[in-house]
């Protein structure tokens, strides 16, 4: 998949990743990647709920989540193991 996206799509996804990183850091009051798993999952769950609620600017999150879900369930691991 590493050569599927064009330059514009890559830029869009990088911007979305930056936005997600900032939003998660804000929620945990620091570096998201350094917090414990429970805190991380809570922050991510909250962000996910916000992204799929009305009136937010997290379209990049929704788009990336869609891609990740779609691609995962097109992979051998996703189809053969996860859906087994």
């Amino acid at each position: 998949m590493s050569h599927w996206a064009n330059a514009a799509t890559r830029r869009t996804h990088r911007k979305a990743l930056d936005q997600i990183g900032r939003a998660l850091n804000r929620r945990v009051g620091g570096g998201f990647v350094t917090v414990d798993q429970e805190t991380a999952e809570r922050a991510l769950t909250e962000l996910d709920a916000e992204a799929f609620s009305d009136n937010n600017d997290l379209g990049g999150y929704r788009s990336l989540k869609g891609y990740i879900s779609g691609f995962y369930f097109s992979s051998e691991g996703g189809v053969v193991q996860e859906l087994k």
């Binding site: 998949m1 050569h3 599927w4 064009n6 799509t9 691609f71 097109s74 992979s75 051998e76 189809v79």
Partner: protein, 240 residues
Amino acid sequence: MADFDAIVVGSGMNGGMSAKELTERGLKVLVLERGPAIIPERDYADQLAPWESPHLNNVPQEEVAKHYSKQYRGVAYAIKQSNKHFWVKDDEHPYEEAEGTSYDWLRGYHTGGRSVMWGRQSYRLSNLDFSANNTDGHGIDWPVRYEDIEPWYAKVETFVGISGSSEGLPQLPDSIFQPAFEMTDAEKQLKSKVETAFPKRNVIPARVAHLTDATDEQKSLGRSNCQVRNQCVFGCSFKA
């Protein structure tokens, strides 16, 4: 040079059926097809898992932009890495559009033409359609009515095989049907809600050219019932 009673240009939906009818009436028919032969065992991709093709079976975006801009705009869901050979490359087959207009000509150059790639939705027109120009006063009145076309609908449907439900709707005449696919629970719920709230509205199963009870004629042609795999866009090895 060989002599022919009829020459059919193009082997797609219309050309193929024309050639079939003419040959069955004893005519010597030449079919001209600009593209290569589709050989199901070689060219269909419905037995491949997504991960067995590059990019999880997606066409890279730069390749789409270069070769499939019109085709992809029309049917992005149907153009994958493993079946992109069904579709023309727009940059290699350009055409002019009248100023101020746009038309996306979705095509495949190969034996069978778009009969290999169509969406299978199959509905009869009704007299509502055939008389629409006359009723509205626009355009030219159709020179035929439903009663003139009905026997031909029946003939083609019997050969092709259409699944659907008889509803008796005047605006959407029933076809010669094989059994309809059962609605999902969600679809049944939708049907119930819509038809309760709007008694004159109908939610019915799609009428689609998928075999659900293949006839002896269809079986004799190597066709069998739809396996409900949702792999239609890759060519159907079951010939359903």
